[in-house]
Symmetry: C2
Subunit: 205 residues, 2 copies
């Protein structure tokens, strides 16, 4: 069975849990406490030299890191990735947007809040929040007249962007003025086999 090295509060790990569940692929969850440094030991380094969750491990020991690389790989040949090559490229584009222009601001500010370290980052907070809103502005404009990010159907691009957008309020981001984003969040949450970030999926290792 596949094993997912997971941190419960991580939106990046949630992306993989959500897609595995929607694909109806059984998996074992291995909780890794990143706050306790559990990604820094030698055993974890063999799975990912870059000390990050999620990591997906196959029964033969092969490991894949980087949430969006995992999504793209699992979605290959399924309805969760467009079959048209250019649409696939656009899905990939939005997934790189998410990791470069969205996650480092929206996820990081949320992490500071829930880890109780926001006070230590006061000098950086304003700039990070501003960049987070810039990412939300881009999403809001792109979603004008669209149901989903690519080819007007639900794909891994939506999963990638949904993970931290739907919990952006935990980083004190206000989505009130983002009507298109809010409607899209509801569309994602109404997909078949949707599970929330707090829902228990997978079996315990």
């Amino acid at each position: 069975m596949l094993r997912l090295y997971d941190y419960f509060e991580s939106g990046n790990a949630y992306k993989v849990r959500l897609l595995l569940h929607q694909l109806d692929i059984p998996f074992e969850l291995v909780p890794v406490d990143i706050l306790e440094g559990e990604t820094r030991n030698a055993a974890f380094e063999e799975k990912n030299l870059n000390h990050r969750v999620p990591v997906l491990e196959w029964p033969d020991g092969r490991c894949l890191a980087e949430s969006n690389a995992i999504l793209l790989h699992l979605a290959e040949g399924t309805d969760f990735l467009p079959s048209d090559p250019f649409d696939r490229a656009l899905a990939t584009q939005w997934m790189f947007f998410e990791q470069y222009s969205h996650e480092p601001y929206i996820a990081v500010v949320r992490f500071w809040h829930f880890s109780g370290t926001v006070g230590e980052h006061e000098d950086e907070l304003e700039a990070k929040v501003a960049r987070g809103y810039e990412a939300l502005d881009v999403m809001e404009r792109h979603l004008e007249g669209r149901s989903f990010f690519v080819a007007d159907r639900y794909s891994v691009a939506d999963i990638a962007l949904y993970a931290y957008t739907h919990v952006a309020h935990e980083g004190k981001f206000d989505l009130d003025r983002y009507a298109n984003i809010r409607a899209w969040l509801e569309r994602v949450a109404s997909q078949p086999r949707y599970v929330g970030i707090e829902d228990e999926v997978g079996t315990k290792a």
Copy 2:
């Protein structure tokens, strides 16, 4: 003909120039001066709402942003992307690593140096440099006993990581203790149809 919206000093734009040249695909270069805000006007926003170069434009007007999404799309079905699905996933993994754990430190510090703004970022510099070295450490360890990042052959994963690593010294990063990285840089630079970041390729629009 394809059009590449390009900024000469951008490693992200260079990645695309290098691959287009290696694939022998003709293209027009459209220089965009990011320092002068030329990605912020309405005409550019129609190509990329996220205000970034590179953007690749097809003759029918379709546009693709995000350097690594462009690389993956252009490399589809060529020798520059592994044909094995898991190897492709690993190539994608390293490309997300590059955009999340490498570029925001190594490229950003280099940009501060050559744009003459390093003095404005003194409070952030030490942390950014440390994270840059962490990325180099990961690369150095992965390259132990390997010629290239994935499947022991040159691929878009190498192009993505090469772009800012080979100019890391312009951000005052010292590669002396990274023997594996230095040997790999030489292997990349000796590939057929290699061009440097300063070499003129493409035609002027």
